[in-house]
């Protein structure tokens, strides 16, 4: 909305809103916020109005310590996201791997890179983290028992559960309903994809192929899984039913394609492709079967992960020399770096 339109609006008084003014400049939704302070606590009241019917459609009142005003503002913003049928975005967390404190450990941060917090503390490598949809659990791989084993970490409860500890175990991915955990393991001798219950129980194998099968990514419906396989000689992207049947190749035009990430709207799959010695991100539109290039950097761009609203993609890149986490909009605009301390990679955003 052009700023000069605001000149047509009489000063906003939360007790008496002139809806006709707002309607005259084609406002459909009006968000009114009020902040007050009492006894060292801030009170934040927010009301959302439908301008045409002059009705309040959402009202929230938050009380908090003054230092968490940021969280309160993000809670409100997420209420608006929910109002439009979207998943929480501003309070969502990104989990990632950083070596800033010596060796690879898990960290998390806000959607914009703020509040970077360490989650694991040991001298062994912890990596490849993946959130559960409710953001209470993180599946990850750790060498803490001198073998790459798959664990589930419950960061708010301080609980750690081993899931698969035979062979190499990695690429954990929770299903969108949070009930299942897909992962990759060589527990039966070859790199295959398995699905367990979300608590790690009842592990069953869903791929049976002598090639490398890895990097499972659930469709938003939970009915299908995209994955990487080199069964035709080079790594390519495939889709199968969640039980392992109906496998079909969806990638084309490359000879090293990996790390599929299914978009929250279900229509697109982001992936990594190597051309010469450069790794760039691409997006395959499953409806039009067209591939568009997302990064053009002459660098190594890896590990794409979608934001919950599907508008952004985070990934790691050595664009600036060291490996850092970047965010880019799905239309390739707004590239920005989110990390700077040490090297940072393998970012995962729940979706």
């Amino acid at each position: 909305m052009p700023r000069e339109h605001l000149n047509y609006i009489r000063p906003l008084n939360p007790r008496e809103i002139f809806f006709k003014d707002w309607e005259s400049i084609q406002t459909r939704i009006l968000v009114v916020g009020e902040i007050s302070q009492s006894q060292n606590r801030i009170i934040f009241e927010v009301k959302v109005y439908d301008v045409k019917s002059e009705r309040m459609i959402l009202g929230k009142r938050y009380q908090a310590e003054p230092d968490v005003y940021r969280l309160v503002a993000h809670r409100v913003a997420d209420e608006l996201m929910k109002l439009y049928g979207e998943k929480p975005f501003f309070t969502s967390k990104i989990v990632f791997v950083s070596n800033r404190d010596g060796n690879d450990e898990l960290y998390m941060m806000d959607y914009d890179g703020a509040n970077q917090t360490r989650l694991t503390f040991n001298k062994w490598r912890d990596y490849m983290p993946a959130w559960s949809p409710d953001q209470r659990a993180i599946a990850f791989t750790s060498y803490r028992a001198r073998n790459p084993d798959l664990y589930i970490l419950y960061p708010y409860e301080g609980k750690l559960v081993p899931v698969s500890t035979r062979g190499t175990n990695f690429s954990g991915a929770f299903s969108p309903d949070g009930k299942k955990l897909a992962f990759c393991s060589t527990r039966d001798g070859n790199s295959e994809i398995y699905v367990a219950n979300a608590d790690g129980s009842n592990v069953r194998r869903i791929t049976f192929n002598s090639a490398i099968d890895t990097a499972p990514s659930w469709s938003p419906t939970g009915r299908e899984i995209a994955f990487t396989s080199d069964r035709t000689g080079t790594p390519q992207i495939y889709i199968m039913d969640a039980e392992g049947g109906n496998v079909r190749k969806v990638s084309f035009g490359g000879n090293y394609l990996d790390a599929p990430a299914w978009s929250p709207d279900g229509e697109r799959i982001a992936f990594v492709s190597r051309v010469d010695n450069f790794f760039d991100l691409y997006i395959l539109n499953l409806k039009t079967n067209k591939i568009t290039k997302l990064t053009e950097t002459k660098a190594r761009n890896e590990s794409p992960s979608w934001s919950p609203d599907g508008r952004h993609i985070i990934f790691s890149s050595n664009l600036s020399g060291s490996i850092q986490i970047y965010s880019v909009d799905y239309d390739a605009s707004n590239l920005r770096c989110m990390t700077s301390q040490g090297e940072n990679k393998l970012a995962n955003w729940t979706n």
Partner: protein, 183 residues
């Protein structure tokens, strides 16, 4: 006359031999002084030298810690082609030497680590590193090394030997290396 000549020659030979012996005898004394000078050193060296012959090679081996043995790198690493995990012809003699060392030390157990270069995704490289470790293990098994002496692990691309970003560094980093974990 002939006899006399022979006798005469013999005498000369004997004399000259005696003379040369004498000369040698004269020359001999000089060496001792240096020997005598070196003696203290020799004595120092002798002490451990005297002890060592008592130990068999096996005993010497058993005396060392795992760390010491691994530092000596008795098992050489092998390298792989890009995105491949088959044993290259140049790796065959290396693995043959490794298997005969393992046969000489039948109680040793090893860990084979599979590594990749940086050009590849984390997921795929972790699988590839394991395939490299596994094909190395299978080759050693084909040379008669029992499977229960071998463990494998993949580090993907997370532990490069050479931090460079060129073909030389990548070629070095695509490897299977050996760690002795039990003796």
């Amino acid at each position: 006359m002939k006899k006399f000549l022979v006798l005469f020659l013999t005498v000369i030979l004997v004399l000259s031999f005696a003379a040369s012996c004498k000369k040698k005898a004269k020359e001999v004394p000089p060496p001792p002084p240096p020997q005598a000078q070196e003696q203290p050193k020799v004595e120092k060296v002798e002490e451990p030298v005297l002890k060592e012959p008592v130990l068999t090679e096996e005993e010497i081996f058993m005396r060392k810690t795992l760390e010491e043995i691994n530092q000596e790198k008795p098992l050489a690493m092998i390298h792989f082609d890009y995105d491949k995990y088959n044993i290259r012809p140049d790796a065959v003699p290396v693995l043959e030497a490794n298997s005969s060392w393992l046969k000489k030390h039948p109680t040793v157990k090893i860990l084979i680590e599979g590594h990749c270069d940086e050009r590849g995704t984390e997921e795929y490289n972790l699988s590839l590193g394991e395939k490299r470790a596994k094909s190395t293990m299978e080759y050693l098994m084909s040379l008669g090394i029992s499977a229960d002496r071998i463990r494998i692990i993949s580090y993907g691309k997370s532990q490069p030997l050479d931090p460079g970003h060129d073909e030389t560094a990548w070629a070095k980093n695509r490897r299977a290396q050996f760690l002795i974990i039990e003796k």
